[in-house]
């Protein structure tokens, strides 16, 4: 097996029965594995709600480590739509040329730094700083804030190799509380200030609501972006012909990004709470139990994707659910897409080849399934392109 490969652990269960079972802190989850079921259930918010107690729709559950409701993530329509309308224009800013220019200069700088060093541990010394610096653009906060975020490490809710960590989560919550207080005293043009002045149902957003949006923004785009970036570099290291193709045909880069998001599926799955006794794949699910929408499995469904276990750089029809599906699709997707697109273009323009040295895979334990999502660490040598 290639070092960069992400095997599909769901294949057998997906075709045989369509679901998997996982115990998570004594709150079991029925995982939906088929593309069609995942999309239908994501759309059916009446039966599969996101508005459960905060943290419960996340797997592993975060009910024991937070009380703040993430917004608009843990809210159902129609209220969800009202929140989403407030934040959507802000999260579409990555489509503006000026934003892309700044992102390109950040990415160019970090690649140059890396080429200077030669060998880099990609997870902690490339993907994490890249993600954190880029987040200053999304939040429109000073660049130096990224230093604080980098110091938190790759996970905001867990320590290295451990499950959920309440103390660690508190670092993030305290930080966000302090930032909101700062923005109340000295409003600026950053995301905290913009949210604090936003109108919701004829009133301003409360501090708790602003906190809910900010926690979502920090948590949702951290390990996901880090895994996407790291996996992309590992893939290019083992597929020099793909790097060459991106160099010669930059116009396919957008399609390549979609295909990488499908194949990597940086977020394995997301939960919902069942509001009435029902069936999924002829399997009974009880009211108040949990299901999960397994994006990673749906994205390898051979009834939808030809050669699902291959990265086809210019896959033309690609209805992947790597950014989720329906009302709750990823709010940060525009930012993530631009980041990945610029990363691939810039790597193609500056790097001749990569060499993977030692590495350790990051394997998620889903009871019935073990899924590789990326790496805990991976040392890679970047060889410069001599023009």
């Amino acid at each position: 097996m290639k070092k960069s490969e992400l095997p599909d652990p769901f294949e057998k269960a997906r075709s045989a029965k369509g679901y998997g079972e996982m115990n998570d802190q004594n709150d079991p989850v029925t995982m939906l594995l088929r593309h069609k079921d995942v999309r239908k259930s994501a759309h059916n918010w009446k039966t599969f709600t996101s508005a459960a107690i905060p943290g419960r729709i996340v797997v592993p559950s975060e009910v024991n480590i937070r009380d703040t409701r993430q917004i608009p993530f843990e809210v159902d329509p129609p209220v969800h739509g009202a929140y989403r309308a407030i934040v959507e224009p802000w999260f579409k800013r990555p489509l503006q040329p000026d934003y892309q220019k700044k992102l390109a200069s950040q990415i160019s700088a970090i690649i140059d730094e890396t080429l200077e060093k030669g060998v880099v541990e990609v997870v902690n010394d490339f993907a994490l700083p890249l993600q954190s610096r880029a987040l200053t653009l999304l939040l429109n906060t000073p660049f130096h804030e990224s230093k604080t975020w980098i110091s938190w490490g790759t996970h905001v809710f867990r320590s290295e190799g451990e499950a959920l960590d309440g103390d660690k989560a508190n670092i993030l919550y305290d930080y966000i509380d302090a930032q909101i207080d700062r923005a109340i005293k000295n409003p600026g043009e950053d995301m905290y200030s913009v949210l604090l002045s936003s109108e919701f149902e004829g009133r301003k957003l409360t501090k708790e609501e602003v906190k809910g949006v900010m926690v979502l923004t920090f948590a949702g785009g951290r390990d996901t972006v880090i895994n996407a970036v790291t996996n992309a570099i590992a893939y290019l290291a083992e597929h020099p012909e793909s790097l060459e193709r991106l160099r010669n045909e930059p116009e396919i880069t957008g399609k390549t990004v979609e295909e990488m998001i499908r194949y990597f599926s940086p977020l394995t799955h997301m939960g919902r709470v069942v509001t009435e006794d029902t069936h999924v794949c002829e399997h009974a699910v009880k009211v108040d139990s949990r299901i999960s929408l397994c994006w990673a499995s749906a994205n390898r469904d051979a009834s939808v994707f030809e050669n699902p276990n291959e990265i086809v750089l210019d896959r033309k029809i690609n209805p992947h659910v790597g950014f989720g599906f329906s009302h709750h699709n990823c709010l940060g997707a525009s930012h993530a897409r631009q980041l990945m697109k610029i990363l691939l273009n810039t790597l193609a323009g500056k790097v001749a080849s990569f060499e993977i040295q030692d590495y350790q895979e990051n394997i998620e334990d889903l009871n019935e399934f073990q899924r590789k999502v990326g790496y805990n660490h991976i040392n890679v040598k970047f060889n410069p392109l001599n023009k």
Binding site: R39, K40, K255, V257, E258, I317, N318, S326, S334
Partner: protein
């Protein structure tokens, strides 16, 4: 060369001329409101949903199976719905009128 008319949800009428590429790309390049084309045209985001004028359906044809699956879960969809990333510009599309869904 094809002339393609978009009617936005703000009732703006915009007529654009194109020779190649997808209708979605033409709309995005010209800033037609309500057509975002987030995924760049691979049929994964449904942010380029349009309603084709009934008389123009013979020019555009109906949605493909994967496209229909995407549209099936859109509360706004009807039999004239298309994702315009899947409409390739050619002379055959000349004169079509598309109402932007969003």
């Amino acid at each position: 060369m094809a002339k393609i008319t978009f009617i936005t949800s703000a009732n703006e009428t915009i007529t654009l001329e194109g020779t190649e590429g997808s209708v979605m790309a033409l709309a995005v390049e010209n800033g037609v409101r309500g057509i975002d084309g987030d995924c760049g045209g691979v049929c994964s985001c449904a942010t380029c949903h349009v309603h084709v004028a009934p008389d123009d359906m013979d020019k555009t044809g109906v949605a493909s199976e994967i496209e229909s699956d995407m549209l099936e879960l859109d509360d706004n969809a009807d039999e004239y719905s298309r994702l315009c990333c899947q409409l390739e510009i050619s002379d055959a599309l000349d004169g079509v009128v598309l109402t932007v869904a969003k």
